[in-house]
């Protein structure tokens, strides 16, 4: 019995063990090199990934008194999260850097938090998973502790995060008061599901969830922390935590509160729509590359939420498809930026990209892929993401939202193209020499960028995959 339980949560256990080992290594081994830490982290992440694949075979089960659930949906999300985390780690490999080893440790905590969120089936577990994630994110953002920007953004993030988690908790408390239970299964069966109290609780919780996604109006932390932290941190917080948020919204709202989906879908819808509009509009006038990407991320998340608010399996799987493709794009973009950012020059303004096509031709070319993908130009995956969401919107008589979405995409195209324009159409006044240093990091970032095109040429697997996961998830419960 016990072994079965442990067996079911082996991926999480692996990460937990990894945390302990890394702590030990980091403190006991004299001058533990980055490479060593990296290798350890990578090894454990890959091992956890492997175990997750193995546990796909396991039958669905509720463990820890129903606080934790092992099902295909959760495991698949874990797999995605782990893959994302692995890529993030790969892109952080840099020969020369002043990033402290702790950041990788804290990232492990965050990954653990996401994994807990993927499987949590009790509001308490959800809360703890969420806090594991959130607290680690504070640490990640602040990890560049000697930088004013990093600490400032971490401080803001912390305050806002604390407010958000308090708001979320307030919702949970009312939910608890209404239903008398913390278990997601039992909430579903509550007779008061359709009451006003319930809706108030859901509204509170929705705020918390939207904050985690980083969507309007709970988005304020996103630009500051993307810009303030170093790129390694930005890659992480822009990618993996979104999966946790998705798991959260899926388990809590889609599954347990499906009965009042017509209520919460409107909250999610409005947040999504406003995110698309506000995010893209503000991104237009940004000069800092990471800040611009942050706003663009808000816009992308808007699409995810918009599609999620359709609620039916098609809509949700479209939302998940968008999320996955967004992850690939965002990791690729940040990885490329990371690989051109020098140590003393972390804050890349658009102007710094001038002449990139000459100094780093390959990186520039891949960044071009990314930008067109973000715009939503085929055959890159960004297009399929947009298209599948638009399809579902049109299919569900939300054609006006689709029109707003595409219009904003056109506006968004401007600022994405600006990146291309600076890279290719402007010449750097100073040095025009090929600095194309090929290192592990560049190779990784190029690999990921190439995925944009490759998946773009044959997107069926991703589309079918999400569809399968979501439909199994919604049918089981």
């Amino acid at each position: 019995m016990t072994f079965n339980i442990i067996g079911s949560i082996l991926p999480e256990v692996t990460i937990a063990i990894a945390i302990c080992i890394v702590i030990l290594v980091n403190s006991l081994v004299r001058n533990a090199s980055v490479t060593l830490i990296h290798s350890l982290v990578l090894f454990f992440l890959s091992f956890a990934l492997f175990l997750s694949f193995v546990s796909l075979e396991l039958p669905d089960s509720n463990i820890f008194e129903g606080h934790y659930v092992i099902d295909a949906f959760g495991t698949n999300l874990k797999i995605i999260a782990l893959i994302a985390a692995i890529f993030v780690h790969l892109t952080s490999i840099k020969s020369k850097q002043n990033i402290k080893n702790e950041i990788f440790l804290i990232q492990l905590f965050a990954t653990l938090g996401v994994m807990i969120l993927c499987s949590a089936h009790n509001l308490l577990t959800v809360y703890l998973g969420l806090e594991t994630l959130t607290l680690s994110m504070y640490g990640i953002v602040a990890s560049n502790r000697n930088s004013i920007e990093a600490t400032e953004s971490a401080m803001k993030f912390f305050i806002l995060g604390a407010i958000a988690s308090a708001i979320f908790l307030y919702g949970v408390s009312i939910l608890y008061g209404v239903t008398g239970t913390l278990s997601l299964d039992l909430i579903e069966n509550s007779k008061l599901l359709d009451s006003l109290e319930m809706r108030i609780a859901v509204a509170f919780m929705a705020c918390g969830i939207i904050f985690k996604f980083g969507a309007f109006p709970f988005h304020s932390w996103v630009p500051d922390s993307y810009q303030g932290s170093n790129t390694t941190a930005a890659i992480y917080i822009s990618s993996v935590p979104k999966i946790g948020a998705f798991a959260l919204i899926a388990r809590l709202f889609l599954d347990s509160l499906n009965a009042i989906s017509d209520f919460w879908s409107i909250l999610i819808l409005s947040a999504g729509l406003l995110s698309i509009i506000i995010g893209n509009m503000i991104a237009l006038v940004q000069v800092n590359l990471r800040r611009m990407l942050a706003y663009s991320a808000i816009g992308h998340i808007g699409f995810v939420l918009l599609s999620f608010s359709i609620v039916n399996p098609n809509g949700v799987s479209a939302s998940m498809t968008y999320l996955i493709m967004y992850l690939i794009m965002t990791i690729a973009v940040f990885a490329l930026i990371e690989s051109i950012a020098s140590e003393d020059h972390q804050h890349i303004e658009l102007g710094d990209l001038k002449g990139l096509s000459k100094s780093h031709p390959l990186i520039a070319f891949m960044l071009l892929f990314c930008m067109f993908s973000m715009v939503g130009i085929p055959p890159f995956i960004g297009f399929y993401a947009k298209w599948i969401v638009l399809s579902e919107l049109v299919n569900n008589d939300m054609i006006w939202f689709a029109l707003i979405g595409v219009t904003m995409s056109v506006i968004a195209a401007y600022y994405y193209l600006r990146v291309v324009w600076f890279m290719y159409f402007e010449n750097n006044d100073q040095d025009i020499e090929n600095k194309g240093v090929i290192n592990t990091q560049s190779i990784t970032s190029i690999m990921i960028s190439a995925m944009l095109l490759l998946i773009g040429l044959y997107p069926s697997p991703v589309i079918d995959y999400t569809r399968r996961i979501i439909s199994s998830f919604l049918l089981i419960d």
Binding site: L124, A142, N146, T151, L169, D224
Partner: protein, 101 residues
Amino acid sequence: MLSLQSYLTLSAIIFSIGITGIVINRKNIIIVMMCTELLLISVNFNFIAFSHFMQDLAGQIFVFFILTVAAAEAAIGLAILVALYRNKKSISVGDLNKLRN
């Protein structure tokens, strides 16, 4: 007889005070952090009240964990604050605007 509503109302008032405090505060960050503690108190209040009135222990357990996490959160928050202060020599809310559009 004290009704559940009394407790909930008290909690709601504290929640509002906390949330207002965050916004109107122009002093230093540390007070903002105290306000978030106020928010948590109000949440805890809710849980305990519900727990008591419904005779269900889960609420109290939840509060226990909230207290734990809040302590951890406070530690992290203060650590960030200290780091910030070292860099900026100020923790005034008004000075915290290097990052903006």
